[in-house]
């Protein structure tokens, strides 16, 4: 098929469009003005530099959690544990960020590395259990999420603060805060993390598509038997895949800890970034470039949604509905493809 390339772009685009249309119908049906609603949404996401800054800030962790989920998917694993890996990554980054006095050139990378390692460790456990005992990674990662939440809270309380609820702010030398972005985006919380996230997307693409190790990881993801037959170490690859996936998630946590918040406080519940990462990955077709776009879409919808209640009177929940509909339409791309082919036939 010649139009394959075109379709690859067209389908998600149509899915988003259809999601918006369906969202408009919901708004109309419940007595809201869809033009005002979407106007507010778009304004709240891209209305001026401040909003753009906020959108990019929100996009940053989404890119990384999306990559984490996608990396596991590409290697045949379903990592629902991105949330927990993110939380421990956040903790580790802040821990390093407050504990040392080092030059920025060492301190910041060290904090990021700590986050990646913590996330990797959280991925290692389900990876090992899957590889050696064939325990389903979905259950283990769900359980690991809760453990991450409670353990992190306990550490914040007892180690990172004096029986308090939050850590000290990370040292300037470990911070991702950007005076430059602050200035050009009217004090948005946008930080340098976006560069790390985009670089991570490149890393994932490069690792999977260009390296020898990536070849192995993909092969194991598709067919463990054939991989073993071909001399690959299936167990080691499963573990490695979970570790790398966890590392991406850990770095996502660092974005929050070193960038957006600059510290960590005890969490009453999950951040949602990890779970949203599943949707980001899937809408992005589990591919690095797609994830950049779908994370941006997610970031824009989430940040833009905040504007809807105040200027259009539309509850923010509507955005969740729209997101869900977009996911449905992306998932049902078969339907869109079918519609497209009907339409093409009709045009001929």
């Amino acid at each position: 098929m010649k139009s394959n390339r075109l379709q690859q772009f067209l389908i998600p685009l149509l899915a988003v469009l259809l999601g918006m249309i369906a969202g408009s119908i919901v708004m109309l049906a419940s007595g809201y003005n869809p033009i005002a609603g979407f106007g507010a949404l778009v304004y709240g996401a891209f209305g001026d530099t401040y909003y753009i800054g906020e959108t990019i800030r929100q996009t940053t962790p989404y890119i990384l959690t999306g990559l984490a989920v996608a990396f596991a998917f590409r290697t045949g694993l379903f990592n629902i544990g991105v949330e927990g890996q993110l939380i421990v990554g956040w903790l580790a980054a802040v821990w390093v960020g407050v504990s040392f006095d080092l030059p920025k050139i060492i301190h910041l990378p060290l904090a990021l590395l700590a986050a990646a390692l913590a996330g990797a460790l959280w991925g290692l456990i389900p990876g090992v259990l899957k590889a050696y005992l064939k325990v389903h990674e979905v259950i283990i990662t769900i359980m690991m999420n809760y453990i991450a939440l409670h353990v992190t809270n306990a550490i914040i309380r007892s180690v990172l603060s004096d029986e308090g609820f939050k850590s000290k702010p990370v040292k300037e030398s470990a911070s991702l805060h950007s005076d430059f972005f602050d200035a050009i985006t009217h004090h948005s919380t946008m930080h340098y993390g976006i560069f790390i996230a985009v670089a991570a997307a490149f890393v994932m693409w490069f690792l999977l598509e260009r390296t020898t190790k990536g070849f192995e990881l993909r092969a194991v993801g598709f067919n463990q038997h054939a991989s073993q037959y071909a001399g690959m170490n299936v167990r080691a690859n499963i573990i490695l895949a979970m570790v790398i996936s966890g590392a991406f998630a850990g770095v996502a946590g660092a974005m929050e800890g070193l960038g957006t918040f600059g510290n960590i406080s005890t969490k009453a519940g999950f951040t949602g970034l990890g779970f949203d990462g599943i949707a980001v990955a899937l809408i992005g077709g589990n591919n690095a470039f797609g994830i950049l776009l779908s994370a941006l879409l997610f970031g824009a919808l989430k940040v833009g949604a905040l504007e809807m209640p105040s200027s259009a009177g539309v509850p923010t929940e509507l955005v969740d509905i729209i997101i869900a509909l977009i996911i449905f339409f992306v998932a049902s791309s078969y339907m869109i493809r079918w519609l497209l082919s009907r339409w093409q036939k009709g045009a001929e």
């Binding site: 390296t211 192995e216 598709f222 067919n223 037959y229 001399g231």
Partner: protein
Amino acid sequence: MEYVIEMLNIRKVFGTFVANDNITLQVKKGEIHALLGENGAGKSTLMNVLFGLYQPDGGEIRVKGKPVRITDPNVANDLGIGMVHQHFMLVDTFTVTENIILGSEPTRAGTIDMKRAEREVRELSERYGLAVDPTAKIADISVGMQQRVEILKTLYRGADILIFDEPTAVLTPQEIRELMQIMRTLVREGKSIILITHKLKEIMEVCDRVTVIRRGKGIATLNVAETNPNELAALMVGREVQFTTAKKPAEPGKPVLEIKDLVVKDARGIKAVNGLNLTVHAGEIVGIAGVDGNGQTELIEAITGLIKAESGTIRLNGRDITNLPPRKIIEAGVGHIPQDRHKHGLVLDFPIGENMVLQTYYQPPYSKRGLLNFQAIYEKARQLIREFDVRTPDEYTKARALSGGNQQKAIIGREVDRDPDLLIAAQPTRGLDVGAIEFIHKRLIEQRDRGKAVLLVSFELDEVMNVSDRIAVIYEGNIVAIVDPKETTEQELGLLMAGSKRKEAGVS
């Protein structure tokens, strides 16, 4: 003349590909009608149309003279058409009985009446001489018995027109003989049979008439009594085919593979290979003959490192390779054409080009400093595709999209190209047409002539006898005899495979 089935000018198109191009097939009541054609000729497609799995894009179907529209398998069932599929349609985790009654379960008070079902299955199996254990799990029974279950499924539904799609591809010679017997019984009982097979001998043996198709077109319908294998092969492939591959006498050299007292346990912990000894020399093809389930799979998997050996040693060129990781064994010089090409042979979702370096991707020139060199990979792929006549649109096409024969050619190309000292070929021609078989046999002999050791495992006695220089008969995990193919007969081999002792011919 009365036709029970008439498929007139059937046309079936997949996308732009015409799989069936105005094919006509007429089956008489009470006959065994063969359908013959190369891989991908469109046989299965035609039968799936008859069974209601596909809707034809043109043509007409008549059953017992009446025009019908077979919209789904239920309709086919109601018309008395039953099909034994090329790839078994059995639920592994179910019992024999459950598989047979699925979809028309006898019930009592809403519950499946399993007692009654088992009784009915037992009665049916006795009546047609189809020995099965109604309570056994499909996963635990032999392929032959699975096939009998497939047949019982159709009979249970009262089918009187049976379609067999390549039923013998996976059977041992004994099982094939049994199946022939069953088919004759069925015909005697008034059933009609359509048989798809690549094995011309079988057609000659049991069929009444044969329809040949090539590239989706009907070529001819002949009375079997009035034709011969050579004519059929020529009709089917469009050229002359040699059945026995010509070869020079073997010139065995030093031992390449030496197996001593090998013991291997299967997945259930039973000793599947039990103190086996075998030597394969450079420049010879050793064929392993045996009934499925006598340890062939475990033997191969132990040699290639896929499962652990309990005890004993395996040496390659004098070096102990017992229980080394698969990669080390591959690097030591073992090539392996696996029995299950989908499970072990290919990553179906990878491009065929990348499948060509499945074992060597990490070595130069395919990998440099940890990075893949796609140029080198695809160059190699193009070379192999050319050399081994792999029919694929291009080297970027997913392996999944290739036909079975072409997938197999790709695997063989890959394994041969690595130039291993020992080439293990497990069922290398299963399900392939005569043309493809000829090609593959030539390649194996070529390897031998280049001084390599070849270990061939096959359930096809023809193949073992034609290709091997020595035949080792495996029975219950042991080599019970080694015979010279020129000095033995199918009968003798059959007996040995069934476990009857033989004194002469030193067991090495």
